[in-house]
Symmetry: C2
Amino acid sequence: MNQHPLTNSGENQRLFSYEQRVKTAFDVVVPTLKDISSMQNESDFEIRAQEIAHKQLGYKLPESFLEDAWVQQLDMRRLFAWCMFETYRIFCDDFFNNDPLGTGNENNFKQMLQECGFHTLDVSPCADGRLAHVIRYVMRLPYREVRRKSFAGAMFDIEDSIDKWVETELMRFREGQPNAADESTRYLKTVVYHYSSVDPEHEGCAAHGSDTDLAAQSGIDRLYGFKQAIENTYCCGASIDHLLIGLDTDTDTLRIHIPGEDGSINLKKYIDAREVYDETKTMSAQSAKEWIADFVKGNNPSMSFGMTKFITYILINNLSQIDYVRNYHGDYYKDAGHAERFIGAGIGFEEIQLRNLTYFAYLNTVEEAAADLDVGIKIFTGLNVSHGMPVPVVIRYDYHGNVPGARERAEQHCYQVAGALENRYPELTSQGLLHTLLAVRDVSAASCIEVLDSSVTAQTAQEAH
Amino acid sequence: MNQHPLTNSGENQRLFSYEQRVKTAFDVVVPTLKDISSMQNESDFEIRAQEIAHKQLGYKLPESFLEDAWVQQLDMRRLFAWCMFETYRIFCDDFFNNDPLGTGNENNFKQMLQECGFHTLDVSPCADGRLAHVIRYVMRLPYREVRRKSFAGAMFDIEDSIDKWVETELMRFREGQPNAADESTRYLKTVVYHYSSVDPEHEGCAAHGSDTDLAAQSGIDRLYGFKQAIENTYCCGASIDHLLIGLDTDTDTLRIHIPGEDGSINLKKYIDAREVYDETKTMSAQSAKEWIADFVKGNNPSMSFGMTKFITYILINNLSQIDYVRNYHGDYYKDAGHAERFIGAGIGFEEIQLRNLTYFAYLNTVEEAAADLDVGIKIFTGLNVSHGMPVPVVIRYDYHGNVPGARERAEQHCYQVAGALENRYPELTSQGLLHTLLAVRDVSAASCIEVLDSSVTAQTAQEAH
């Protein structure tokens, strides 16, 4: 294959095989259910259906769903949702048990980050499913070492970021983690907005009306707001560093905005990784590295050594992803638009590191996230409901098991949000076109998810009475 | 008057005159509107109504409300809500401009608290309106120096308390405020549950089914949970101190639970301030003070010097309040049950330091606080709706003006909650039996509240089109 000299092909192969495996597991559900549906009036239906499910999906279907098929039509909506949730559960178990996306490089990264002058890397991408792989794939970072919180339009919550900054600083003072408070490193807050090179007018960021400049400028405003909030609230030179990054969702190419001499972010001044790729493609690996470092420095010679090094690092990492897309998907992704498999609502979802798998809605309540959820439901109305298939929603709350009562509160939280979802979308719910899975996870124990309940099985229980 | 030698009668008079003044301002609304209603068909109605309003309420009514009275009945519900909100606004302006409940003693209190071994006093009373005066009246503390967050049943949010602990510790490390992190003081978390001595079976804590032991035990569990959460989450000896206090809402008498030798809280072992009052009533002030200090120490000689001193301090303060109730209200309050004037929903309400003025619902969203709000609406259905009067709800969000965008977010928050309230109580809303006032306040600037909007005037604006 014709690749950039700095591309890590071994990792590309591993990442692709994982992406392929996970997405296939979700995408095989519909054809399998079609096969099963076509035979539901045959006499040995239950046995044959289970054979097909076992062979194509890798698991058996709930017998109670199948046994009445001879007298009434199979409830395909419910069966579809059940399969999506079962696939999700298996995918989660694999992720937390086998660490398929581990880099083995976590400690080196921590050290490198501190050498760049940062003790924490906090990334807020857009909640769009086409950015869900930005940490592990597009930037090739160890996902456990990066704080990721996604928001529609990358419009992160300043108060939430202040809380995280406070928590981080206290850990530095009290426990010297990740480094001591008197080391002159900073909290680096990064916004990743996005645009589409193939169809810029339609496939950009929905939250900003596909207006790339608006998406970028809104990111700048929010970063400045966070910095000013810290500086105004805390004395003694408290501040943060910030970095604005754009992502072309068609090719996974990054554009990194170069801070000006006064540290300001310039909307128009950025390095496009694609240009870096083209300029250095025919060089040796070593020359390419040096060229990129010089090029970054040349863009702003007054930029700190650390920021220069960090931007160089991200740019080099992105070259592998550019080749990843070219090799496995062609000039650009075929799924330029939304193609998410399910909605994830709540707090958690560390396992979601794949593009276009999940529509994110980070939320505490449906009430405050109503606008984001409406967008998600609209997307899935096109993807699923228009074909008569339900919207699968995973409601998930992570909790700290070492905090008394936290598990019970996470559980309660799941049920509260499930109820609020039903209230907000009563028609979808009553028609069986919205199904929920309720799950929690103890992040202190680094355990698997724990499935609490599901609208799919609740229905079975109800029918049994 | 026959008083305890340690009672501060001067302060009692000032506090009573303030309570009297504020409550009268609210309570004069109904008789005034009755007077006005009775004359609405007279020819000089508008002029006479304004005269009466000005004389009895101290402000004029909106002319647009009155001018159509000759052709259709006055909308008394709307007028009532408008008056309640106007009274609230005037009450707030007085509070923030004139500091009527200031003690002038704030700095001494801070120092005393640190001498007792605590750098922060965090009190979570029950959200019941009969405990709203617990800081400034019942315990006689400077309200600005005490963190108060009320919750139904005093069941405070452990995660929220952890956040506050983290913020407090960071301020100690970074800025030495209120004292340096290496001083061996602790964060003192206090729960105030309540019971009724006159009608224990019915007028206790609704959230705990008027079961006093359950209310106390739930407080103990929550305090232990918070302590354990801090100890499990942070290393290096991180912990908190805790104290459980009960309040008899009929007489404002406190019972303070004395920590055991191992620091545990005993449900049954407490000092009742009424017994202390009776024992020391005939002594000289000096002897009474000494007797109380000895008595507290005698209850647990191994208790720290600081905790002994703090409990003694609170007990002595409470003696003034016991006399306050006896002198101004008799053997017990006549309004043993709920008699709140309005519901306060949101985050803020520092100005609410009076008993039975406000039903609190601290909330971010209606969704998560639905149960608390339903209780409030039920209470006001009895108090107001059953007499054809609407439920006045003040929706309020405080914000930090030095955080960019915080004001806009507080404003948005108000409208979101107002919309969610309408959705939850559509019948009350459509009948004009639920009215809202939307207000924000910049706590950084220590300013007055800023009224954004109201369902009362929105209606007028709507009619004008």
